[in-house]
Amino acid sequence: MLHGNPLRVRLFAALALAALAAVAGAYALSVRGRGGETAHPSRRAGDLVIRSIERDRSALPGTLPDGTPYDATILVHGEGFFGTSFGPFVRFDGRDAAAVVLESDRRLRVLAPPGLPAEVEVEVENPDRARAAVKAKID
């Protein structure tokens, strides 16, 4: 448990998180749930939580059967993901993912559209309109 100056504690936590995420291939700079900016890795927005983002570097770019191109394969880890006739939706800086696979209520496999910047806001929206978002490096 860290003690001392709260600002130093938060900075250390952020740097530690960045180091961990850099090893995995992406890191969260900050997470924005419905409540605003926070340095914590996840924030509850209803029952929907994003814990981390990583890029599956074994997956290659490609094209869906309907001709939609995709680039990176992104794994979104969290809690509370579910789907009805629609959703969950995943957006990168507001752009819809090319494909979203709800592998479990804790993991999404997302095919990102081409042309995204290295650092994006990744937003997940459930069918009940609950949303969570995180800034992440996905290159």
Binding site: G62, T63, L64, P65, D66, F82, G83, T84, S85, F86, G87, P88, F89, D96, A97, A99, V100, V101, L102, E103, D105, L111, P127, D128, R129
Partner: protein, 509 residues
Amino acid sequence: MRQRSLLHALAGPLALLVLLSSAAVAQGPLVPTLPWLLREAGPYTAASKDWTNGNVLVTNPTGGGNISVQHFGVVWFPDDGTGNPLPPITPYPLVVFAHGRFHSPPYIGNNHKEATYLLKHLATWGFVVASVNLDVVGQYSSPAAIPQRGELVNKTVEYFASQPAYAPFIDWSSIVYIGHSRGGEGVFAAVQQNPAWKSSIRGIGAIAPTNFQNYAIPVNAFVLYGSQDGDVNNGWPIELYGQTQNAGWKAFRYIEGANHFWFTDTINFGLETNAQLTRPQHHEISRTYWATWCAALCYGDRPSYVRIAGDKEIAWSGNFKIHRIFASTRQITVDNFEQLPKNVFRNSLGGPNTLTGLVNPAETFLSGGSFYNKTNALTASWATPAKYDADLLGGLDVVGYGYVSVNVLQRYNVAANPFGQPQRFHLSIIDSLGNAAKLDNTDVAPWPYPFTTNPNGPVKSVLKTFRFPLTAFTAANPLVDLKSLRRVVVDFDITATGDFALDDVVFTQ
């Protein structure tokens, strides 16, 4: 001025009779509301068994070859008292049911059992009902894996055809697909995939189907949709119905106060806590319509056809407001407003249309705003008495066609349509000698304002079919010669103002 007739003189006593006989919202005196047998359980005792076909291959929704998925479900059937199929006197038609997507524990892997109220009901009426699990492709949020649902529906038919415990008892010339939500669109996909037994698919049905793939296939289709659907709340079921090419019969029911997930046994979706109808009422409507649809398709049951067409209304347990669209291919089209180039002054028979008092008449594709029907129609408004008068050319022989039918809607959220108020019109037929008979829309049904009680989505202005029996015209004026009709006239001369769409002016069976 409204024309008096024998029918109007009887309206009071007839209305009282309807009121005494049922709790349903009465239609007009020409559409009696009657108790309906298929609302209740049928004569068979029903039983069920789980089934499994191991793993099968379906195409990968994200491309790159096939994927292997489990193929399993539950089957309901008439019971012999030991939990096995009762040997039939005549083989049972097969229904394949495709459930919707609710991809969340604990429903994943069990959604095929979330319509037991329906599966069991159909089995009591002598159907073998195979429900296939589609959660095996439910992880695909987008693409929506609709074709894959179709593949699994078709593989279910193949599976049961191979099973000695079921195959000998099934009428393989009589198959119906019914689905809900993504499964509802999946049954369209299944037909679109042209299975070898396609000619045996008597028709399909869908509760609140999605429309990811924009299918426009020819098939007998029946679609149900609730005005308070909080999941597929974007009008897609109306669009899919409009896109579907009529192969014989096409029917739609827009149900005020019904939502999406209360057509399942137990699923609740957070956005849908405000349905006006209870879950048991959803089940009553669903099981009754699907038993009726299947009986009409598979048994050629004329009373069932009449209920699907809406010429007799079903006596429901409550004051349900259910708004129908119906089309038969057995028709003479007076005007469907589909001809090119667009010309409101020329009908589909090539005759002239006289439009009097109509403001801004146009042939409009009903899509966008509050329109979802995806068909061309005449749109216009009136601020003084107005009419649409179609010249049929020569003398049209409509003997053998029981009805003259029109589809109309009130446009939502315009000043010309007072909020929440019904509109009115008259329909007249006139023969070559000028003999005329006129009926009021209320002889058939009210023309309601669009259902507005849906905070979960947009209000939809939906076409409604009014089928006027030709015998009612000849009863009003026996001089009218059905062998030589010259004009069909729709008068908007009762209410002060209105804004509407008119489509499918037809003589039909």
